[in-house]
Each structure stands twice: as structure tokens, then as C-alpha cells.
């Protein structure tokens, strides 16, 4: 019954009258609905280990969102994104991002942007459409799926960008520096569940189910951890930061590098949530290849640690590494996209009773057709091969191939 109510709510969202279409200015109401066919383990969203979002086949409302950008003054915007999902995590509708953005009129070739509020770190090259969705695929790469699951900055981001006149204007540079609170438990889900490939974005109030590992249960090593994680919370009172640099040459090339560190105290715990010290380096490239083939690749290498030191290592000491390559080509209203993801997660700790390495790769093929400014249809096939020895805790084999076929209508008003 609750699901039916949520579905009705989502449909109600899509009926809201529109103020603007597909622009960064105004109100965009979006919905994605259609048929999903999956094979593999029951999804992590339903409390098990599956890397996909959906456990059941059939018709579903995959996502409803409201992306609202209001111009408060000529140089000050308010941007709020609300998301609704047809699952049992959190409220039916909740806030995904909410921030103010100040864009003072430039007085020199240097331009400044200041964001204050709750927002995604400036990392993804895929999630560039309204509501942080991807114009290329329905499911995000493993890297950006993890960002959707566990990363959100609550703080301020200052970006300075400039186009050196000496380089003719087509070269653009941007440097962002952000300081944020919250996001201390980020890393919990990655370390215990592993990587995923889907399109569910965690809202600020969401409590994400952790896999039912025996070490998280009563009498287990981590019994103080609640069976869910609220990744955006503040645990230890210490702020984190990220630094991002972009170099762009016209519409030919964009290079991006990011350093992220939530500076969490790995020994802190509050409200059933451990703080995880999570840091990583990220590199991204976006290119236009000959024949107008678009290429996007991102890589992320980092570590997340939790707990005190045992035998020179934290109780949980996990290194993670992932990269993907996406190629895409649009043919008038049609778009074809192919993506390959590789992901790894290794553990360096001395805690054999908690062992969750995760290795695998994923292929995604998406074909989309724009029917109008407001509607498009997309067919997407996705396959993930995983080697995850920790699955023996549940009495299931350490390897799996999970597949998903989605046939969706995406609406925007």
C-alpha cells in the first residue's frame, strides 16, 4: 500500500505545472518510469548484497524529482533538488541538494562562484543534467554511483575560473576549494557493501540499509553500528575539504583533478554511526573525438579507515579504486552510449572476521530517443560481474553476474 501511495505521489509531482523547460533557470519536474527486468541477488536497497537498485521485475516509477532554481537577485540563486523513490528507504520525498549560489558580476577575467548549503562535490562528469541526472545513461558509473550514495558536502565551495586572454579565450581554468561538515560516515556502505551501479541518489535524511553482515549484528565486532548508515551526518565535529581543478579547451577537452578528504576521526562514533576517514584522488577527462564521438573517463583511488589501530592498521582499512570509460554519440534525436566500469576494493586490516574485498567490472549499453523537449525513451542493458569473497557470510557463492534491462520513459516539465 505504501508503494502505491508513493507512486501516486510521484505521479502528482509530474503533474505540477511547469515554469520552464530544461534550463538551469526555473522549475524542472522530472520522472522516469517504465519496465525493469533484473537477475542476480536481491538489491542492497532491500537490505541484501545486490549491486543493482531493483530486486523485482516489472513496471516501476524509477525516480521523480523536482529541480528548482530561483533567481533571488541578479547574482544570487537558490537551488533545491527534491527526490522521490519507489523504495522503502527514508521519506517518500526528501531533499537531495539545497544551496545558495552567488555569482558576482566579474570585474576582471577572473570569475568567482560561491556555493553555500548542501551539494555534491564537483567531481562527476556524467551527472550534468537537471537533478544531477546523466544525459548519457540511466545508471551511473560505479564512481558516480558511490558519490550519489555517500557523498554530499554541507558547507561552502568557492570556485575561481578564468580564461587567459593570452590563450585566446578557448582555454578555461577553474579551481574550487570547499570546506564542509558532515559526511563522516561516508565509506561505510562502500567498505561493507562494495561498489554498485545504479541511479539512486541518497537524500539528506535517508538511512541506507547496510548488508546483514554477522559482524554488524548483536555480539559482532561492530554491534554498536546501527543496521543502516546516514552517510551525510556529522559525527566528530571536524570539517573536511576538497580541492578541484579544471582545465578546459573549448569543446574539445576537459581535464579535472580532485582531492577529497572528509578528515573524519576514525575512532569517533555517535548515534550508532562510526566516522570513517575517507580520502581519495580523482582524475577525469572529457573529450570530443573525431566524428563527434564523446568520451568521458574518470578514475578514483582512495582509502577509508575506521576504528582504532590494531597491529599497525585500523580495525577496518579499505583501499578502493575504480575507473570507467564512456563513449557516446548523438544522431539527431538518438543517442547511443557504451560504458565500461572496473572496480576494486581491498582490505589491509588485521581483522579477518570482517573481510569484504570486492572486484569486478560492468558493461552498460544505452540507447535513447528524444521524442520532444519533454519526453524521451531509453533502453538500457547492464551487466555486472563481481568477485566478493565476503558473500560467504551469507552462504552464497563469492562470484555473481547481475544483469538488468530497463525500458523507461523520461519526462521533464
Amino acid at each position: 500500500m505504501e508503494r502505491v501511495l508513493r507512486a501516486a505521489l510521484l505521479l502528482a509531482c509530474t503533474a505540477v505545472p511547469a515554469a520552464a523547460v530544461a534550463d538551469s533557470n526555473g522549475l524542472t519536474v522530472g520522472a522516469a518510469l517504465g519496465f525493469v527486468d533484473t537477475s542476480g541477488h536481491v538489491s542492497w536497497t532491500d537490505g541484501f548484497v545486490g549491486k543493482l537498485r531493483h530486486s523485482d521485475d516489472g513496471a516501476t516509477l524509477v525516480r521523480g524529482f523536482i529541480d528548482w532554481r530561483s533567481r533571488l537577485t541578479d547574482t544570487l540563486d537558490a537551488h533545491v533538488v527534491l527526490d522521490a523513490y519507489d523504495d522503502d528507504i527514508g521519506n517518500a520525498i526528501d531533499v537531495t541538494e539545497a544551496y545558495l549560489e552567488w555569482r558576482p558580476v566579474p570585474r576582471s577575467p577572473r570569475r568567482y562562484r560561491l556555493k553555500v548549503g548542501a551539494f555534491y562535490p564537483r567531481i562527476s562528469l556524467e551527472n550534468v543534467a537537471a537533478g544531477w541526472s546523466s544525459p548519457y545513461t540511466l545508471s551511473y558509473s560505479a564512481i558516480n554511483t558511490w558519490i550519489a550514495e555517500e557523498l554530499r558536502a554541507i558547507g561552502a565551495e568557492l570556485t575561481m575560473s578564468w580564461r587567459p586572454e593570452s590563450l585566446g579565450g578557448s582555454h578555461g581554468f577553474a579551481v574550487s576549494l570547499a570546506a564542509f561538515g558532515g559526511n563522516d560516515p561516508a565509506g561505510s556502505l562502500l567498505a561493507w557493501k562494495g561498489w554498485s551501479v545504479h541511479d539512486r541518489q541518497t537524500r539528506l535524511g535517508d538511512k541506507l540499509p547496510l548488508p546483514p553482515l554477522p559482524q554488524l549484528g548483536p555480539g559482532g565486532l561492530f554491534e554498536r553500528q546501527h543496521p543502516y548508515v546516514g552517510p551525510i551526518r556529522e559525527i566528530d565535529g571536524r570539517g573536511g575539504y576538497y580541492v578541484n581543478g579544471d582545465w578546459r579547451i573549448g569543446q574539445r577537452l576537459l581535464l579535472r583533478a580532485t582531492r577529497y578528504d572528509n578528515r573524519a576521526n576514525p575512532e569517533a562514533i555517535a548515534g550508532g554511526q562510526y566516522a570513517w576517514r575517507t580520502e581519495f584522488d580523482h582524475f577525469g577527462i572529457q573529450m570530443t573525438l573525431p566524428g563527434d564521438v564523446g568520451l568521458i573517463a574518470q578514475s578514483m583511488t582512495g582509502a577509508t579507515v575506521m576504528g582504532g589501530i590494531v597491529d599497525n592498521a585500523h580495525v577496518v582499512d579499505t583501499e578502493f579504486d575504480s575507473r570507467f570509460v564512456l563513449v557516446t554519440r548523438s544522431f539527431a534525436r538518438h543517442r547511443l552510449t557504451l560504458r565500461y566500469d572496473h572496480f576494486e576494493l581491498t582490505q589491509n586490516d588485521r581483522t579477518p572476521e570482517d573481510n569484504n574485498p570486492d572486484f569486478g567490472h560492468a558493461w552498460t549499453v544505452n540507447y535513447s530517443v528524444g521524442l520532444s523537449d519533454r519526453a524521451s525513451i531509453a533502453a538500457e542493458w547492464l551487466a555486472i560481474d563481481t568477485d566478493h569473497c565476503g558473500w560467504v557470510y551469507y552462504g552464497i557463492g563469492p562470484t555473481a553476474t547481475e544483469r538488468q534491462m530497463q525500458l523507461l520513459v523520461k519526462l521533464r516539465f
Binding site: A20, D23, S24, N25, R71, D74, T75, R103, V105, P106, R107, S108, P109, R111, L125, V128, A129, P135, S161, R163, E165, L167, G168, G169, S170, H171, G172, D246, R248, I249, G250, Q251, R252, L254, Q286, M287, T288, D292, V293, G294, L295, I296, T328, R329, S330
Partner: protein, 226 residues
């Protein structure tokens, strides 16, 4: 080639009549300018203009208007050349608001967030390059080249531009400018002391590779919000 005496006489008479007529009309002159990259390809969107013209042109620019449009999140044209004293209108033909500005002193200006035609034209009184942008859409970039002459043009898709001079003599310089050109200044100016030098057109053969074009556009990946 064998030419009869009678025919050549006719030609001579015709030529004399033509020269006399031209001189009597105080001769306007056109100069065809082309700009070519080192690889031989034409260079569009290059500003071409004349300066240090020593004849009295009598071409005041009072009341002259020009238009810098905004379409599909771009400035159109990408490069606009105007004479000092020109008022430039900035209509927004998009269905989204733009916030047009320039920080190029002393021609700097701001047109707060608008659609359609909401602001008075901007008067450009100082020669120089005016870089224009949109404070909402960072990728929008355009140039207004303000020059002290009414004789100016912009090269077309084929890298060609035509200048029309009121008087077919004199001593002047033909200049070119584009944000993409990296050549030294002396390669971007041609001094003309005799109209015959420009009669067959002027070609600026650039020596250095061009910078990438900001205007080039590809659809496959999204560059707007990066």
C-alpha cells in the same frame, strides 16, 4: 594572339573612357581580404579594419547601430567590429535569461538578467577589444572590436572580407584581429601606399597554428555545466 588593328583601337578608346569616368567619380575602391591558416584553411570571424588613413573620409559614425544577438547560448556574431561611437544592441533571442557583461575597461558594462530587448544599446566610445560574457552561462564568449574607422569587416566562412574605401588612393594600414591568431603583430598589418598593391586583393597567410575555436560545437557530450 592575333589582334586586328581596329579591335585594339576600340579597346584603347574604351579603356581611356573608363579611366576618365573613374577619376571623375573620385573612385571608390574595394579591397578583398582573405585570411588563411598555415594549413591552407580559411579563417572565419577575423576582424579586418583600416587605420591611419590619411585622406579625409568624412565618415562620421554618429547614430550608427549594431547588434550582438544571443541565440542558443551563444553570442551571434562571435566577433563584431564597430566604429567608436557605435551603439550596440544586445537582444536576447533565447527563451532563457542572460546576464551580459564585459570587464574590458574602459568599455566595461553590465546588462542585468533579461530576456528579449530589455536594455538600452551600449555605446562604445573607446577603441579596443571588448570581451563579453554571460554571468549565468560561463561558456558564452564573444568579442566586440571597437576601431577608429568606418572601414571594417569580418571574414566569412571562406575567410574572406571586403573593405570599401571611399577614395582610391592614400596611404593606410590594413589590420586583422582574431582571438585565435597567435602570429606576431607585424604579420597582422599590411601597409598600402599605392592602390595597385591591393587591387588583386590582400592575403594574410598566417604562420602560426591557430588556437582552438571557441565556437566549434559538438553535440555528443554536454559542455554547458561543467
Amino acid at each position: 594572339m592575333l589582334v586586328t588593328r581596329e579591335t585594339s583601337t576600340h579597346r584603347l578608346v574604351a579603356a581611356i573612357i573608363l579611366i576618365t569616368a573613374t577619376a571623375a567619380a573620385a573612385a571608390s575602391e574595394t579591397i578583398d581580404v582573405s585570411v588563411v591558416a598555415p594549413d591552407g584553411s580559411p579563417v572565419p570571424n577575423v576582424a579586418v579594419f583600416i587605420d591611419n588613413y590619411d585622406a579625409d573620409l568624412g565618415l562620421a559614425s554618429v547614430g550608427v547601430q549594431a547588434v550582438m544577438d544571443q541565440r542558443n547560448r551563444r553570442f551571434a556574431p562571435h566577433v563584431l567590429v564597430v566604429q567608436t561611437g557605435t551603439a550596440v544592441e544586445f537582444p536576447n533571442s533565447d527563451d532563457i535569461a542572460h546576464h551580459v557583461y564585459s570587464f574590458s575597461k574602459p568599455n566595461n558594462f553590465v546588462l542585468p538578467l533579461y530576456k528579449g530587448i530589455a536594455h538600452d544599446p551600449v555605446l562604445f566610445e573607446h577603441p579596443g577589444i571588448v570581451t563579453i560574457g554571460c554571468n549565468i552561462h560561463d561558456e558564452m564568449l564573444g568579442y566586440i572590436v571597437v576601431v577608429d574607422t568606418a572601414i571594417h569587416a569580418v571574414t566569412d566562412e571562406n575567410g574572406n572580407a571586403r573593405l570599401t574605401l571611399a577614395v582610391a588612393d592614400g596611404n593606410y594600414f590594413v589590420n586583422i584581429w582574431s582571438p585565435r591568431i597567435r602570429d606576431a603583430h607585424e604579420n597582422l598589418v599590411k601597409r598600402i601606399t599605392d592602390p595597385a598593391e591591393a587591387a588583386d586583393g590582400l592575403t594574410f597567410a598566417l604562420q602560426k597554428r591557430l588556437r582552438p575555436s571557441h565556437q566549434a560545437s559538438w553535440d555528443s557530450v554536454q559542455w554547458n555545466e561543467y
